[in-house]
């Protein structure tokens, strides 16, 4: 139970980075950390004590495996996270080219 709470604290650190920081790269890093916390939480939900990896073999009995469904969901989620990060970085590069800064408040000032 404590480990779920540590995972939520990691989530909160990512949230803090998104809400509080003014540098665009720091905001992207906050998004990545938030995604890591989500993935870790889903895999933690499927863990089972004395379980083994969900790959069949000839020798062992079949019923003592960890849950493969969260692993499948997270497997797609990791690659989607890379796509999200790349998209955010390309938008950030465009903003840097246009305004010459990564600071979001200066961008707001230049817009008006």
């Amino acid at each position: 139970m404590t480990i779920y709470f540590l995972c939520f604290i990691l989530f909160c650190i990512g949230l803090y980075g998104i809400l509080r920081k003014r540098n665009l790269v720091k905001i992207i890093i906050g998004f990545s950390i938030l995604g890591y916390a989500m993935n870790l939480f889903m895999v933690l939900l499927g863990y089972r004590f004395q379980g083994r990896a969900p790959i069949d073999s000839n020798a062992q009995d079949i019923l003592n495996m960890v849950d493969p469904i969260p692993q499948g969901l997270v497997l797609t989620s990791i690659v989607i996270g890379l796509g999200i990060t790349a998209l955010l970085i390309s938008v950030a590069i465009r903003i840097y080219e246009k305004y010459g800064t990564f600071d979001i408040t200066k961008i707001k000032r230049l817009k008006g």
Binding site: A53, I55, D56, T76, V79, A86, I89, I93
Partner: protein, 149 residues
Amino acid sequence: MKDDSKIGMSLIVKTITRLIVGPILIFGAYIMLRGHLSPGGGFAGGVIIALSFVLLILAFGRDAKVSKVSINLASNLESIGALMFLCVALLGFLGGSFFLNILNKGVPFKLFSAGTIPLSNLSIGLKVGVGLFAIFLALVILEGTKKNK
């Protein structure tokens, strides 16, 4: 290519890269094709294949032969991967429903088994690898055009 030694990294890095790119590519294909027998699968294999091309561009500079491959070819190949996956899905209609595994299951623990799963792994690996490589190529070429101005 007179100034070949000027662009990119040093000679040692280039030689090691030339030696090591082939094994990385083969390892990516191995992980991709044995996805139904051992850990790995289309996603990891595709990213490893993309990483081998990324290594080439990083070592030889952005004017290497690989980056002459235009972005259009990369995104065309990516669309082909997506369409292949959709075709594997539509193949299930021959047996009755979407995503039905209609091919022969074969014997477990053999390479040619598990019906349509190796085909799906192949198409997903193609799609993920070429797509991520196209993303990296777009970022690199953007930087190149900005420096020309």
